[in-house]
Subunit: 194 residues, 2 copies
Amino acid sequence: MDVKTLCLGLLAERPMTGYEIKKRFETGFRHFFPAGFGSIYPALAELAQAGLVTVESVEQDKRPDKKVHRVTETGHRVLVDELVATDPRHKVRSEFVALVYFAHLLPPERVAAVLDAMMRDWKRVLLDDLAQADRPGADGACPELTPGMRFALEFGRTMVSTALDYVKQQKPQLLRELEESSRPAAARNARAAE
Amino acid sequence: MDVKTLCLGLLAERPMTGYEIKKRFETGFRHFFPAGFGSIYPALAELAQAGLVTVESVEQDKRPDKKVHRVTETGHRVLVDELVATDPRHKVRSEFVALVYFAHLLPPERVAAVLDAMMRDWKRVLLDDLAQADRPGADGACPELTPGMRFALEFGRTMVSTALDYVKQQKPQLLRELEESSRPAAARNARAAE
DNA sequence: GAAAACATGTAAAGAGTTACATGATTTC
DNA sequence: GAAATCATGTAACTCTTTACATGTTTTC
């Protein structure tokens, strides 16, 4: 499954512009399928070329035309086929965890900064992105959430808060242990320098 | 950060062959940074060419030569620089959550199968991969775990079991709700067919 | 007799990220 | 005066995935 299929799925809810789709990816999608303009606009162009969506240009003054995309019948059929054929995978790629894994190679202050930065990020995701997604009428939200959407949203919240709690709780112990194992080395270095 | 840096970091523990590195990626790394032969072998070749590791060929009969990789002094410096400069990110890409998000477009049996497949997968990760990683002396495990490694491992366990628990707990409700919202449609269709 | 473990790689295709390119309006 | 919102896109780069290619030994 790629960004193209996700766009098609979002458009099945209601017609949208690329810009609106981007907003949907940010709120409530970011935590399980990140995508930016650089992948969304080309995806929409391909969908249009394949006849899976139609594009209607809406003029605006002092702005580029809005391009409203609508799923065609073929598009809907292709979407369902694609979804049925997709294997459920779940991949994590975390520079954060990798950095912690190699924490023994880093200065403890840097490790502390890494943990803090990640916690800040997750807090923002919880408060800004995921909190918005179920307010009907909120910007970038879906008018009415299906059971699957609620499941996905709640899954995201659960995972992000679990991650946040884990880091918050383990941080003091990690830093203590790192300093304990680096202090003897510092002592050795000091002796060697004499 | 890419597979190259991760390989360099693993080699900083002790010299290894590509095959051994692959095993390390499978046990205890898979949950936060997946990589296969297709990315590991080219990464090792690049590290060697850049002088960050040396390669020693060890003859074996009836098998291709083992190639043992060792980090050079330059390699170690480059590794630390790279780690210090890396921003902590944490990305999830989940076809699984996407499928659930679009569950209303799928037959409920398919949704049930998707949930079951994912739970099976996560159970295997917990029992096969993550369970091995801290047994010192176990195959593909690190001789002695640093505080950071323990943190990363426990983080993985926490996240995977949280995901598993969430799906296990929410599955009945999701399926019930999906069938409730599809049954009216079936009724409509039946009426329309008369 | 089949499957898994051991052991290395290449090549092409597919996908996503980042930076570039433009520009008015509104809000802080 | 700066930053965010609205609104579109392209192009180059980087990276990963998948399939190909080969072959023995050990375990079930």
